[in-house]
């Protein structure tokens, strides 16, 4: 018993050390480099940086509001009604996840550009062209693109929260005379707070620090892009570090504020036991209403990527509603570009390694905090959730700083020689929370008594883990792994900052480079984007096939 306890403690200690080295140390490095009061004061004195900060904050707020509206509507429909095609709606929700938003930005320009689809339609209807992307148009475009990418995160959290609400609680309110709306506002919504907190804080911090989308739009007056642009002159101007420090503080503030606003009293928000909330079956034409809402949202989120696909296949798509003259030339161009094929291989290697690291660490961390009941597990808990509140840009900068400061860091992952471990660990650290969440949810839904029973019947801890625990939380492990993998494939900030040599470029950086080539650049980038999306869709689809009909189980997390 003592021996096992010691093993558990050493595993926990190892995990804490890992996170301290690859999460806290990078942040510390950034703080160390950037906590220069002169420079920070300079950030706030400069109208350009202040405007960037304000814009980023506005993007975060607007995006989160959009996301909340979209996903609350869909989640309630899903929870309350039985309708045609319900089983496919969860699958539809996967779609935006496989579409990198900054790739969508190219397509979005095709749709709303001055000579784009919508304006062509307007002209055909005899109206004036509108410059959607000029002025504040870029701002709204960024918000819409990010909202359409991020709503599944929020939606999944809401669905989980809704699933955990015992229908008896609502029934009790009805029994005491509360009407449908009263039940919604007085019972359901307050009980959903935990879902709002979980989903909202992720979306808000994410959109506040999103680099790829505004970069693709050329919307440079936002903090993340300003940080990225300052990268080139980092040697003689450490201002970007200070900018990152400011960004980190604002993110932490957002997180704390959300927490304060939405913290649920008493902690335990849900009554467990009676699973499966009661759904109303819709009849006749009504039963297609919810599914069309799902379809509409999915269509909107796919639209930029459809446009991207159109661009990829067409020789000319200018001032017309639909593309003209189809060609495969861009695909040839994309493939013949020396950046493309290696970048796919690179991304695969980085992401697979990242997935393995994240699943390994995340599962152990979840076990330590839920099952082992060790003293000091709260520290591990806190550390493994922290990446949600720390922007990727900060960690990327921290790694960059670390390779400059510490010899051992330069030895293991030199971004110039071989950034495999650097990128894999940078990806993994930020994906650990998703794995931990998924596994913790699984463990909490699995009574510990089931494992006790296995121990009682003579199975040792490892055997119990393999035969009882892992099969029972298999779906959760898979979800965690998939999230870790696909988010790593689409990762932007680490990839743009840490991959410095073109041989080591992952997909995202290759895409950015490609899109910036004048002339045929955007078209070949589109073609490459299509490749990347097809590839990701294939991975997710094969995972779906592996899961068979249990794909829905993914979403109960």
């Amino acid at each position: 018993m003592l021996f096992r306890r010691m093993i558990q403690y050493s595993i926990m200690l190892a995990l804490i050390t890992f996170l301290a080295l690859f999460l806290i140390l990078p942040v510390f490095t950034v703080l160390h480099e950037g906590c220069n009061w002169h420079l920070i004061a300079e950030v706030f004195r400069s109208p350009v940086y202040c405007e960037g900060l304000l814009n980023s904050l506005l993007i975060a707020v607007v995006t989160t509001a959009m996301v909340a509206l979209i996903s609350l509507g869909l989640a309630l429909l899903y929870d309350r009604y039985e309708f045609a095609g319900k089983e496919y709606c969860s699958l539809l929700m996967l779609l935006p996840m496989i579409l990198p938003p900054f790739v969508g930005a190219i397509g979005f320009q095709q749709i709303l550009g001055y000579y784009g689809v919508v304006n062509s339609l307007l002209v055909q209807c005899g109206m004036q062209r509108i410059d959607f992307l000029g002025g504040s148009g870029k701002f709204w475009s960024v918000c819409v693109i990010e909202a359409l990418h991020l709503y599944p995160v929020f939606y999944l959290n809401l669905i989980t929260a809704l699933g955990n609400i015992d229908p008896a609680l609502s029934d009790a309110a009805a029994n005491l005379g509360a009407s449908g709306w009263q039940r919604f506002f007085r019972i359901k919504l307050p009980l959903l707070k935990s879902g709002f907190l979980a989903g909202g804080s992720i979306v808000m911090v994410w959109s506040f620090t999103e680099l790829g989308t505004p970069l693709m739009f050329g919307y440079n007056r936002v903090t993340p892009v300003q940080v990225f642009n300052g990268l080139n002159e980092l040697e003689n101007n450490p201002l970007p570090y200070s900018l990152v420090v400011v960004m980190l503080s604002v993110s932490a503030l957002i997180y704390l504020l959300m927490r304060r606003l939405l913290s649920t009293p008493g902690g335990a928000s849900a009554v467990k036991g009676a699973m499966g909330s009661r759904t109303k079956r819709l009849v006749s034409w009504r039963r297609f209403l919810p599914s069309s809402a799902f379809l509409l949202v999915a269509f909107l989120s796919v639209l930029p990527h459809l446009a991207l696909t159109g661009t990829a296949f067409s020789l000319r798509w200018h001032d017309t509603v639909l593309p003209e003259v189809f060609t495969l030339e861009h695909f040839d161009n994309a493939l013949s570009n020396p950046l493309v094929l290696p970048s796919i291989v690179n991304s695969l290697r980085y992401s697979l390694l990242a997935m393995i690291i994240a699943v390994f660490c995340g599962t152990l961390a979840a076990l330590a905090s839920v099952r082992w009941k060790l003293k000091g597990a709260w520290l591990l808990d806190l550390l493994s959730m922290l990446p949600l509140a720390i922007p990727g840009l900060v960690i990327a900068f921290g790694f960059l700083g670390m390779t400059g400061r510490y010899l051992w860091a330069r030895a293991i992952f030199n971004p110039v020689d071989n950034p495999l471990w650097l990128l894999a660990i940078a990806y993994a650290v930020r994906r650990i929370p998703y794995v931990v969440r998924a596994v913790v949810a699984g463990l909490e839904q699995t009574p510990e008594e089931l494992e006790n029973a296995a121990r009682n019947f003579g199975a040792g801890p490892v055997k119990t883990l393999c035969r009882i625990t892992f099969p029972l939380i298999g779906a959760n492990l898979l979800v965690g792994g998939l999230f870790a993998f696909s988010f790593s494939m689409l990762e932007v900030s680490d990839s743009l900052i840490l991959a410095q040599k073109s041989v080591f470029f992952p997909i995202t950086k290759a895409l950015l480079e490609l899109s910036q080539i004048l002339g045929s650049g955007p078209a070949s980038a589109s073609a490459f984007g299509v490749w990347a999306m097809a590839f990701l869709a294939l991975t997710l689809a094969s995972a779906g096939l592996l899961m068979g009909r249990k794909i829905g189980a993914i979403f109960k997390f």
Binding site: M1, P447, N452, R455, N456, G458, I468
Partner: protein, 341 residues
């Protein structure tokens, strides 16, 4: 099969509020031993400590004289039937029962035979291929029982194993458990709060109160010679009769009666309703009483009779027709008026 020895087991989940308080017990090899007590008295905790799922704060546990306090649950061979069943939802009924057997290294035809004989014992022979969630509560409970029986553990631990069954099935299962335990001379510890179950099945039993053993012995001993008010009243209805104790006799005010047990330390007498007889006035030791209430129970009637200030419950089998207010004569059956503290 192993004997079990518990020595001064202490356990508290909240400091200062012990669930088990220096509890000591001995269960002999091959015995069907019952732990009986009201909810919250620590029975289930004691069982979980035996299985190694909780760790006692202090005290020793020995199986067959060997201390096992330091052994992890999987090394104890103390298969438990969990109160919540704890059936693995991802495995079929067959696989649930086979789990423990496979760990013992049993496979092939022998495995099948063992699983099916366990399933037959709980009358679920045709459910082997089904998934756990598709079973009713009562069926799940029986699968859990079969799973624990199948591994032939050194000590079988049963935590309210029949609570979810209907009356008829419960009677059958009681018979099955007793039969299996006798056949294998299986040491088993059975937790329940149902006194009928304990009295009818146990070889020996212990009544627990507030984390201590209130009394331990054979069902008959405990029922007929309870040493304290708690044990006496927990196992069935009982009349406590106050009075003076002189020379080993109770002076109740309406008569002087010989006490059995240990009259020296006693403060009152106690007698069960069925040991008070309705008799003729001429019967030795008879005293007059008035019926103040009556409840008809079919095979018997329970009368509440008043003698002076004392109310006595009297159980009359094959009851005659009597009315409230009737005067009757009562007598205590010899050797059943117990001295109580």
């Amino acid at each position: 099969m192993a004997s079990v020895l518990l020595e001064k087991i202490c356990k508290s989940f909240v400091p200062g509020k012990p669930v088990l308080n220096e509890l000591s017990l001995e269960v002999k090899s091959g015995e069907l031993f019952f732990l009986l007590g009201p909810s919250g008295c620590g029975k289930s905790t004691l069982l979980r400590i035996l299985a190694g799922l909780e760790k006692q704060d202090s005290g020793r546990i020995c199986f067959d004289g060997e201390e096992i306090s330091a052994l992890p649950p999987e090394k104890r061979q103390a298969a438990m039937m969990f109160q919540s069943y704890a059936l693995w939802p991802h495995l079929t009924v067959f696989e649930n029962i086979a789990f423990g057997l496979r760990i013992l290294g049993i496979s092939g035809q022998k495995l099948k035979d063992e699983v099916f004989s366990a399933l037959e014992a709980v009358q679920l022979g045709d459910c082997a291929g089904r998934r756990v969630p598709s079973l009713s509560g009562g069926q799940q409970q029986r699968v859990a029982l079969a799973r624990a029986l199948a591994v032939r553990p050194a000590v079988l631990l049963l935590d309210e194993p029949l609570s979810n069954l209907d009356a008829r099935l419960r009677d059958t299962m009681r018979g099955e458990i007793v039969r299996i335990c006798r056949e294998r001379s299986q040491t088993a510890i059975y937790v329940t709060h149902d006194r009928q179950e304990a009295l009818s099945m146990a070889d020996r039993m212990a009544v627990l109160k507030d984390g201590r053993v209130s009394q331990c012995g054979s069902p008959r001993e405990l029922y007929e010679r309870p040493q304290n008010r708690f044990t006496g009243s927990f196992l069935g209805d009982i009349n406590f009769i106050d009075g003076k104790i002189v020379d080993g006799k109770l002076d109740a005010g309406f008569g002087i009666f010989p006490l059995c047990g240990d009259p020296d330390n006693a403060g009152c007498g106690a007698i069960r309703p069925e040991r008070i007889k309705l008799v003729d006035a001429a019967h030795r030791g008879a005293f007059a009483a008035k019926i103040v209430n009556g409840t008809f129970l079919g095979d018997c009637c329970e009368w509440i009779c008043r003698v002076q200030d004392t109310e006595l419950a009297v159980r009359e089998y094959a009851p005659e027709l009597r009315m409230t207010g009737d005067e009757v004569f009562l007598a205590f059956e010899d050797g059943f008026l117990m001295a109580m503290e």
